[in-house]
Amino acid sequence: MPTTISIGFSQNSDIQKAILQACVQVKDQLNTATTDLIILFASPQYVSPEIQVVITRTLKPKHLVGSSTGGIILSNGVTNRGIALVGINSDEMSFGVSAINNIDNQDMYRIGFDLARRATQDLSASRRDAFITFSQGIEKNNSQFIRGVREALGGAFPVLGAVSSDDFNYKKLSQFFQDQILQNSAVGLLLGGTFHLALSCRHGFKPLGKPRFVTQIDNQIIRTIDNIPAVEIYNHFLGPEALGSKNAALTSYALMYPLGFYLEGPRQYLLRNIIDILEDGSIVCHGGVPQGAEVHLMISNLESCLNSAIEAAESVKTSLGERQAKLVLIFESLARQKILGRSAFNEIQAIKNVLGYTTPIIGMCSWGEIGPFGTLSDIKNTYLHNEHILIVAIT
């Protein structure tokens, strides 16, 4: 049996009907009693235990992973409401899944290591190609998490993934694993077998203003920049908008202007969204930040966002060569959706222009994207990014 991939999607307001409709669409195309792998993306309104009951009954998946998301990416655009799933049946590919629950305040290196090890134990094939994770809570110490996964799978093993998201409230984040809905968890999917993988990760932001330096950090909290409270960088650039530092608007507008930390190794800017501002003027970032790094406020616009997506798609196409992608997975920052607004549709169209109109596309908008700076050849420099688009093509 060659690889068969099918995507189902529904926005029916009745959750049961919605999941059933999506399952039927997948089942119609797969036309098999069981399904090797299901990847599930659901907007927060559709996160309910019923969905896995219906999926289990209808598609009988051997492996199921997924995540809640504030935006489901499909071939015809991005939607903030609905349920989407991709079903894969294949003799060429094999899958191993794993999950670790309640990872808050645990050793992230250990979590990463155990997650990868358990997925390896579940994988039937001897060849391993990529590890994809959906998680919530790894942001604080993501470098340790990635190191842990790599310890189990190999130093230059492709580690990819997305941080679960919701409707910008940062409250209803969930991960799907087999028949369970998890919170504060990491779910892993190990892909193995004989297939080709191509990927690219881009952002399209440019640094603004004079270089400043991070002078005091505490994990993902930046205490001071140039020895003054970190929030002053936003006060300086955004003006009075930033002064009511605890309001949602700041977080909202700050999402459009992430901080960029220059990394000497890969000579790239590591982008970080800010998710909160503390009373003392410290900034809480969505992911760890390097001490002493040069920091800039970053800016982007619709055009540069679209261009970065096109660049990513073109890199993937170059990596694929003559091969046609059987499935394109996209993990894109939810914050980019704010910049793209109603043009999010154009971004998907631009990707399709490059990768082909018939290629099935599915993905999610995330609070963080795990991937390299660039393509598979830069895989050693894998980080948790913000404001990026990660395109993964499977052939």
Partner: protein
């Protein structure tokens, strides 16, 4: 010997003087270099600061553009969602069906988590037709609180929408307390004879403030509900009239058929009499 010593001393003094002159020259050059470097550093810093000021202007302009675009996107999305709902509502034939067409998804698209739509029933009592985000008991309490507060009741019956950005501080305070939502829009459902209810849409304290666009969208929705109710009532009236008319026509037809039958019978009798009379 003395002369040799003197020569040596002379040479040493000469060397020392030379060295001193060189050191003096080197010091001067260094001072100059430091001065030049300081000036270059100063220039660089000034350029950096200028760059920063320029960046500040760019960010602020970009922020304004982003805000305008976001507001425009929000309005367009809201109008799209409203258009879909309006189309559905216009197909409804009765009041209940109209309210059923208003789905929670519409308010998600409009960005409101707390929604209450209430309208007067046949007994002129406010009843809830849609409740999102409030507990049922809380929603009932809200209606009771409005019912006993005459000034608030009157304010809600006026033709204008009230919102957290346009109403008086007194009304705002009351509405925030009653609906437990800091950011809100409340719009009357109007038909020709006046207000018959209201549409409340709001968000709790940590949400962004409502905009004029939000106010317009909720007002359009409330007007559309009123219009659809009026249309449904008119439709019902026309339907009833046509039914009454049809009944009357049927009755009249029956009467005419009866009369015709009688005429026919009389005609037959007349014919029979006529036949008997003819020799």
């Amino acid at each position: 010997m003395d002369q040799t010593v003197l020569w040596i001393l002379g040479i040493i003094i000469f060397i020392l003087l030379g060295a001193a002159a060189y050191l003096y020259y080197a010091l001067n050059t260094k001072e100059e270099t430091i001065q030049q470097m300081k000036e270059a550093h100063h220039k660089l810093m000034r350029s950096f600061n200028d760059l920063d000021e320029q960046a500040q202007l760019i960010v602020r302009t970009d922020l304004e553009l982003n805000k305008a675009r976001e507001e425009m996107d929000k309005r367009l999305n809201g109008l799209n969602a409203l258009q879909r709902t309006s189309r559905q509502m216009s197909q409804a034939l009765n009041e209940n069906e109209i309210y059923q067409k208003i789905t929670p998804a519409l308010f998600e698209d409009l960005g409101f988590a707390h929604v209450l739509i209430a309208a007067l029933n046949d007994n002129k009592v406010l009843t809830i037709h849609l409740n999102l985000g409030f507990k049922d008991t809380r929603a009932e309490t809200i209606l009771k609180e409005i019912d006993v507060d005459d000034p608030l009741k009157r304010a809600l019956q006026e033709n204008q929408s009230l919102s957290s950005i346009n109403c008086t501080s007194k009304n705002k305070e009351k509405l925030v307390k009653v609906f437990d939502s800091e950011h809100f829009v409340i719009s009357p459902i109007l038909i020709q004879r006046g207000s018959i209810g209201f549409v409340f849409a709001g968000n709790r304290y940590n949400a962004p403030a409502v905009t004029q666009g939000d106010e317009e969208l909720i007002t359009i929705l409330a007007r559309q509900i009123g219009q659809s109710i009026e249309n449904a009532q008119l439709f019902e009236k026309v339907f009833r009239s046509s039914q009454e008319l049809e009944l009357k026509v049927a009755d009249r037809t029956k009467q005419l058929a009866g009369a015709l039958q009688k005429v026919n019978e009389i005609s037959k009798k007349k014919n029979r009499i006529h036949l008997r009379c003819v020799p």
